[in-house]
Symmetry: C2
Subunit: 429 residues, 2 copies
Amino acid sequence: MTRQILRGNLCWSAAPDRLRFQERGCLLVQDGVVQGVEQELPDAWKQVPVRDFGQCLIIPGLVDLHIHAPQYEFRGTGMDLELLEWLNQRTFPVEARYRDEAYAEKAYQVFTQDLKNSATTRACIFATIHLPATRILMEQLEATGMKGMVGKVNMDRNSPETLREKGPEQSAGDTVKWLEACAGRYKHVQPILTPRFIPSCSDALMRRLKEIQIQYRLPVQSHLSENPGELEWVKDLCPEAEFYGDAYDRFGLLGGEGCPAIMAHCVYSGKEEQKRLLERGVWIAHCPQSNMNLASGIAPVREFLDLGLRVGLGSDVAGGSSLSIFRAMTDAIQVSRLYWRLADRDRKPLTLDEVFYMATAAGGSFFGKVGRFEPGYQLDAVVLDDRRLNRLGNKTLRERLEQVCYLSDEREIVAKYVAGNPVIEPALP
Amino acid sequence: MTRQILRGNLCWSAAPDRLRFQERGCLLVQDGVVQGVEQELPDAWKQVPVRDFGQCLIIPGLVDLHIHAPQYEFRGTGMDLELLEWLNQRTFPVEARYRDEAYAEKAYQVFTQDLKNSATTRACIFATIHLPATRILMEQLEATGMKGMVGKVNMDRNSPETLREKGPEQSAGDTVKWLEACAGRYKHVQPILTPRFIPSCSDALMRRLKEIQIQYRLPVQSHLSENPGELEWVKDLCPEAEFYGDAYDRFGLLGGEGCPAIMAHCVYSGKEEQKRLLERGVWIAHCPQSNMNLASGIAPVREFLDLGLRVGLGSDVAGGSSLSIFRAMTDAIQVSRLYWRLADRDRKPLTLDEVFYMATAAGGSFFGKVGRFEPGYQLDAVVLDDRRLNRLGNKTLRERLEQVCYLSDEREIVAKYVAGNPVIEPALP
């Protein structure tokens, strides 16, 4: 039994629309699990050494529900295209290079190092179709101590030959090979089933993936209703589907009993699709920066929340240029304010409290009891020294947290814990 | 006669819609003025020492056409309000504190240091109504070596007593006192006439400011058509004005002959107002981040450009949370893509080439021959080492520049020159 105590200015979500602050609070942790927050130490904890972070902010780790590791290398370039042209001109040629293991080793090292140094503690990650490269990414991520779900991507149609699996059997067979090779291998990293999106996966492949999903009890991640051009294409490809989401659901891959699923974007999810997502208990990965960069639009997040849908955040690198989930939080607020102004004055913009919840508790719940400082939750935490930003030292805790969300970067991070283990080691006092 | 040569990967605007790149080019400079760009040194320059920046990017300095120095301290906080409530609840109480010189000294030091360390080389800055504090800001800015125009703000109505001048005569009188105190005092900093906006300035004050403008031959900066609530208010205050801009123009303060003017925002400038802005030769300061944060909307920049209006960029701290004009560039692209998607499919989104021109050449032209690497232009330049971003070293110059715009911060800046003088000194080789 290992106990630890972290002390500092604690900020976390008490409810989906309410932040809670505890000035100079003590976070009591046993075996990597939060036992509670106290102002004074209970007697039973008085012998446990306190890691005191002074006036630093301590927040739950941020969760990135949607990111493409192989695209990290070209983030912030090619931002003048729309989704489908961007995939063909920028993304697919780069992803094809990951069949070269030496290249994958080098490129993924850049990604995992930057992810490790960020405020993200957990992530759901797309790799490529390549088995060796996907394993390399998983090994590297495992070595950081972060938690993550990584998907070997399935795609057997509508992509260049250099980035297309040779039919459903090869794609499914490779997936099984990959899953067998993963089994029991990692402590922090786990596989997630990853059909890229409907246009990339034949019906036969989708059927095989459902069998694999059941056999290996896998979660699923994919893309949904991102961009008008994509929607039209899916209609052509699946005329029998009631709406885009139904094209996954027909194969049992839109979530539901025993199949937790993340669907990224949902910019154009209408009432029917939203209802289905709710029935299936889907996590939506809202990716506002990518939706701006690729001119996709603005997802109706207020509608999602009113309906009771689960909404987390995704950086969607490299549709999104920044790895930062702080940036995703403030982008989500900003585009919601534009949506209110330009599209629908009845939809209240998102608040800081709400996007913080999305980035921590809502995203974290995909991993279990993660994302809050409440008893029974795993200790994922980021410690932030904001003196570079708050130089006059005149701000309330809420103002400091807001400023950190808008303006901090990895220079503010002094320590990071995932499931109780230090991933960024605090400097010795 | 002082000659210097900078060598590196030069990037600048050849035209409003076209970037130019010169790999490992030589920038020839005499007495702080660019003489030309050459691949090989002409004979006459062979004795001049070359400052070789290797594979670094060298770009013209960025120009911030609209920023509020006293608001810098609370940037990135209070971002859940609209313009008029934000002014009353956040901005005015903080600006009122600048009557305290010790406070101004301390708070402005944070601003000027961060501005110095940024990629901005020139800025048009709002101070407050306070004379001593405005002088403190000007002294501090002068000491950095950057160029800037600073305005003591005029406001004699519709603000709390703690931030309101006692009638038009006091406001005008203080302005003259300030101008007299500035005369001949600064090499880099100059005063700019700054009526806050129509709601803050009585008609009598506007008339006095025009007299002062003529007498001292001053440029002017103010706000225009930012937010629907503000527009309604101006209609009530000036029922005789044809449109918001006309309320300035009636007093001769919307630019025109001998009165160069910057108007910030112009989110709701309609056809008539745009036509007037064109006739008056006004510089528009486009401030996309602020327009998101305060839920103002998206300015129709494509219309402005098609009409031939001058459009530069502003950070509008603290309506904007970030001081970075790189961020303003990419925000301008992103919101233009949303505008295209949500509001008007006939308006082509802005390109990297266009926003780069806005941030350098268009903004720079308010200061004269500034913002390009062409003969006769003052040498404002920023040298960027992007190896933290481009770690695989596999990008073209254009891709590197784009990535720097989306992702760089002051850590990439290795040197900065303003009018030929180093403001950030390059480390010795």
